[in-house]
């Protein structure tokens, strides 16, 4: 049974239909990269999966359980589906370590052993190269450092599925690589990830599957190799041509 399943999802804002009739399955340990032009609904899709947006029709299943449009206990679902945003919102009034421990400390349903979580958090901080920052405050960190902390904060909740919404889009170019390296590490650890990004070379290297979206629907699903060397649809070809330039010099 797939870990995450979306069946015939429809989502509109007022009169604009953002997502029309979308279906997708995600297996455990799969890394899926979602590509597409701006405004095609990629971010909205991620936000529907963890309940930040409600859907008009269709259903979303996690481990066979319906999680879409829940009115109660949505926080239990969000303990299992983690998300990292473009704006890496760390809580400014808490130190890095307190940021990391806030979720586990209050998730009584998951019975975390706080000492264990703390050791784990320190191990993760070390792995992402921020071991010395555990008592620092967010205002003292650079964008790339904050984003890495945001990713660790999500990891401390041991989510089953990880959602990444254009997490490097707001970073200076020099800091993008350090964040992508962390995500590559997670992929190698066989975590289940849904990534929305514009980093093409990274997408090609990290993905098990490429899902190409346009105007609210899935146009093409292929392996990275197929997608770049031999796209099946016209729209995919058009999208990829945006990133290629003919040199002035011959």
């Amino acid at each position: 049974m797939p870990l995450l399943e979306l069946k015939n999802i429809k989502k509109s804002f007022d009169s604009n239909v953002i997502i029309k009739d979308l279906s997708l399955t995600v297996e455990k340990g799969e890394v899926i990269v979602i590509l597409g032009p701006s405004g095609c609904g990629k971010s909205t899709l991620l936000r529907c999966i963890n309940g930040l947006e409600t859907i008009e029709s269709g259903e979303i299943f996690l481990d066979g359980e319906v999680i879409s449009n829940r009115t109660k206990d949505m926080h239990l679902i969000r303990q299992k589906i983690g998300m990292v945003f473009q704006s890496y919102d760390l809580f400014p009034h808490l130190s890095v370590m307190k940021n990391l421990l806030l979720g586990p400390k209050h998730a009584h349903e998951m019975n975390f052993n706080i000492e264990q979580v703390q050791k784990e958090a320190e191990m993760w901080l070390d792995r992402v190269g921020l071991a010395d920052k555990k008592n620092a405050y967010p205002r003292q960190l650079s964008g790339g450092q904050k984003q890495r902390v945001a990713i660790v904060r999500m990891l401390c909740m041991h989510p089953e599925v990880m959602l990444f919404d254009e997490v490097t889009a707001a970073l200076d170019p020099e800091m993008v690589r350090e964040v992508l390296d962390v995500m590559m590490n997670l992929a190698n650890d066989k975590k289940t990830m849904l990534i929305v990004t514009h980093q093409m070379q990274f997408a090609r290297a990290v993905a098990d599957k490429i899902v190409f979206m346009d105007a609210g629907e899935i146009v093409e699903i292929s392996t990275p190799e197929e997608f770049w060397t031999n796209p099946k649809t016209e729209r995919a070809k058009k999208f990829l041509s945006n990133f290629e330039f003919e040199s002035r010099h011959h």
Binding site: N50, L52, H75, R78, Q79, G82, D89, H93, L102, A150
Partner: protein, 219 residues
């Protein structure tokens, strides 16, 4: 400048200042509670209550304290509700201050960005936990400069209490001018009294605002 006169009447000013401060503090405390309750009602859009709060805020912000006091002190007795000067002063000040506090707290609550709230939701916190551990702490520090400004405003507003026959600073000054014609001395002491009451708060407010800016932007 008659310094012996100044020495003679300083105790009167001191007593009046204490009275002013005493009433102001009660008013500030009550309006803080009232304002906080109203702000939460408006922030969470609680039906029915939010309309009542809205009407209260419009009434309170668009009428001068003096008129509110006159109404309480002169009109209420005719309706059978007799209030003492002190009661009028505290009720009036709380009524007025509550709406100013509401504005401060509500804008502080709204300053916590939607993404912050979503980030908190995404690590699995319940709505109550999100409010308690993420929204309120941040709103608290944001509200401090506005709160200090309200405190200053309310202490200044107490200068109308002489209208309801309270022996506050204005009353003492006017009395002394009328009785002894020592205008310069009386007015000087009056200014000094208010300076002593208000300057410290003005400085604290400025200090708090700079600390807040540092905490948010690290500069």
């Amino acid at each position: 400048m008659d310094f012996s006169f100044i020495k003679q009447v300083t105790p009167m000013y001191k007593e009046a200042a204490f009275l002013t401060l005493h009433l102001a503090l009660i008013g500030i405390l009550l309006s803080l509670l009232l304002g906080l309750a109203c702000a939460l009602v408006k922030y969470y859009r609680i039906p029915v209550l939010k309309r009542i709060v809205g009407a209260y805020i419009e009434l309170s912000r668009n009428t001068p304290l003096l008129i509110q006091l006159f109404f309480l002190y002169f009109a209420f007795p005719r309706m059978g509700i007799k209030l003492s000067s002190v009661q009028c002063a505290i009720i009036g000040l709380t009524f007025l201050g509550g709406s100013y506090m509401e504005e401060t707290f509500r804008s502080a609550l709204e300053s916590v960005s939607k993404v912050q709230i979503e980030s908190a939701q995404c690590i699995g916190l319940t709505p109550r936990q999100v409010t308690q551990y993420v929204i309120l702490p941040q709103a608290f520090s944001v509200s401090i400069p506005g709160f200090c400004a309200n405190v200053m405003f309310m202490i200044k507003e107490t200068s109308v209490f002489s209208a309801v026959a309270l022996a506050d600073l204005m009353y003492v000054a006017k009395d002394l001018i009328g009785l002894y014609y020592k205008t310069e001395e009386s007015l000087l002491l009056l200014c000094i009294a208010y300076f002593i009451l208000l300057l410290p708060i003005s400085l604290i407010a400025g200090f708090a605002e700079r600390r807040l800016r540092y905490a948010q932007f690290g500069r």
